[in-house]
Symmetry: C2
Subunit: 216 residues, 2 copies
DNA sequence: TCTGTATCTTTGTCAGGCAAGTATGCGGGA
DNA sequence: TCCCGCATACTTGCCTGACAAAGATACAGA
């Protein structure tokens, strides 16, 4: 948990703004993010824009080579597979750890409850993305490792971008997601690392496969 | 594997130089790394020094808050524990994966051979650090996930810094390290994920415990 | 002793500019 | 017609120099 008060520098604000544009598609896949344009648009100096872009590159939300403008990454099949492989790697071990401690974090339960509610209401499927991410994040955070949380956050940022890009909302039924989450939580509550591991693996494998079929 | 040819910008060179200074202790734990000093020392402009420092902060080799100078992090017990926890998380899953594929990368075998040779010669124990890191890195790289390799590289950079700081060389016998590595490789070659997982867990747990006892 | 203030250090951000590298379009030669 | 080399425009890498703002420090006063 970061402090309640957060000093936001100009660069921080720019990073946040650009992130949002990337996530909601205003900056489409493959679009060039040019330092001078950003600087003009937000009325900041070029070094400020540059720093923000470099930070986004560091977080994986933008890619660029030397002397080339940064671009919003386009996810191909290999990229999606790698993203989910890395994510699965992290989260499987986390589930094992949580199960061996029988630790079901309240935040995860809350997020799960929200997803359940959405599945009943049959509301917009895009609305499930946010609590879903929160569910996974709260599980990872529960093990209490700052480094692990940081790595996971980075992976999830990319995941979110990937989902937005592939327009993956509606590919999976909300009820299925809720059921799979439930299975993970049950296994953790039972203190069964092996089952928790497999339940999570199934959950992510399905999600990944849905994305891959959409990509062809 | 990155390309054979690498365009090194000034900032890249600075990052490399500062990294070395941090690793070999010329910049001791807690030392402040001040933008203007770096700029003067290497005869570059302050923005250049700033960019290099920010990159090192991003890699975890320096820490800093807003309006405060960057500092070489000091590792306390909690920090070491977290570092090894995150590392173990990653590597355990990797070993499982490699074992299920029966994949023993040649680079890992080479590094292991070097360590064996050192254990026979009874040479300087500090010399084991480099091949040891190479051993673990080559295993992670073998799964072929760029993201995973990147995360691991970041963790290992911190690990190296931590070991240098605690002066952990000589805490463990080279022969023991070699034996533990051998156990991991055997389990992978046998296609036994469970055993590979546990062999690696033991290896890292021991290393971590050695560091922790040194810290008191 | 504690507190408030003045000063110094260091970072955040800016403006403007030159050099170097990359992409693009055009014209000439095979 | 197609391919190759060349000139141009665009973009980034790095620079100098500067001012404002935030932390750190030391000192004087209550």
């Amino acid at each position: 948990m970061t402090g309640r008060l957060q000093a936001r520098s100009l660069i921080d604000a720019l990073v946040a703004e650009l992130s949002e544009q990337i996530f909601d598609g205003r900056l489409p896949a493959g679009a060039a993010v040019i330092e001078t344009h950003v600087a003009d648009e937000y009325e900041v100096a070029r070094p400020t824009a540059k720093a923000a872009i470099e930070r986004l590159v560091g977080e994986g939300l933008l890619r660029r080579g030397p002397h080339r403008s940064a671009r919003v990454p386009v996810f191909d099949a290999g990229n999606v597979a790698d993203l989910y492989f890395a994510r699965t790697c992290l989260e499987r071990q986390v589930m094992r750890e949580l199960a061996s401690r029988r630790l079901t974090p309240p935040a995860a339960l809350g997020a799960q409850a929200e997803i359940r509610a959405l599945s009943g209401a049959g509301g917009s499927t895009t609305a499930v993305v946010e609590p879903d991410i929160r569910f996974h994040r709260s599980l990872v955070d529960a093990v209490g490792s700052p480094r692990l949380s940081r790595m996971h956050a980075s992976i999830m940022a990319e995941t979110r971008l990937c989902m937005a890009q592939v327009q993956a909302f509606g590919l999976l039924r909300v009820a299925e997601i809720a059921d799979e989450h439930e299975a993970v939580l049950d296994a953790i509550a039972d203190g069964d690392p092996e089952r928790a591991d497999q339940a999570l693996d199934l959950h992510l494998t399905r999600a990944c496969r849905a994305l891959l079929t959409r990509l062809g």
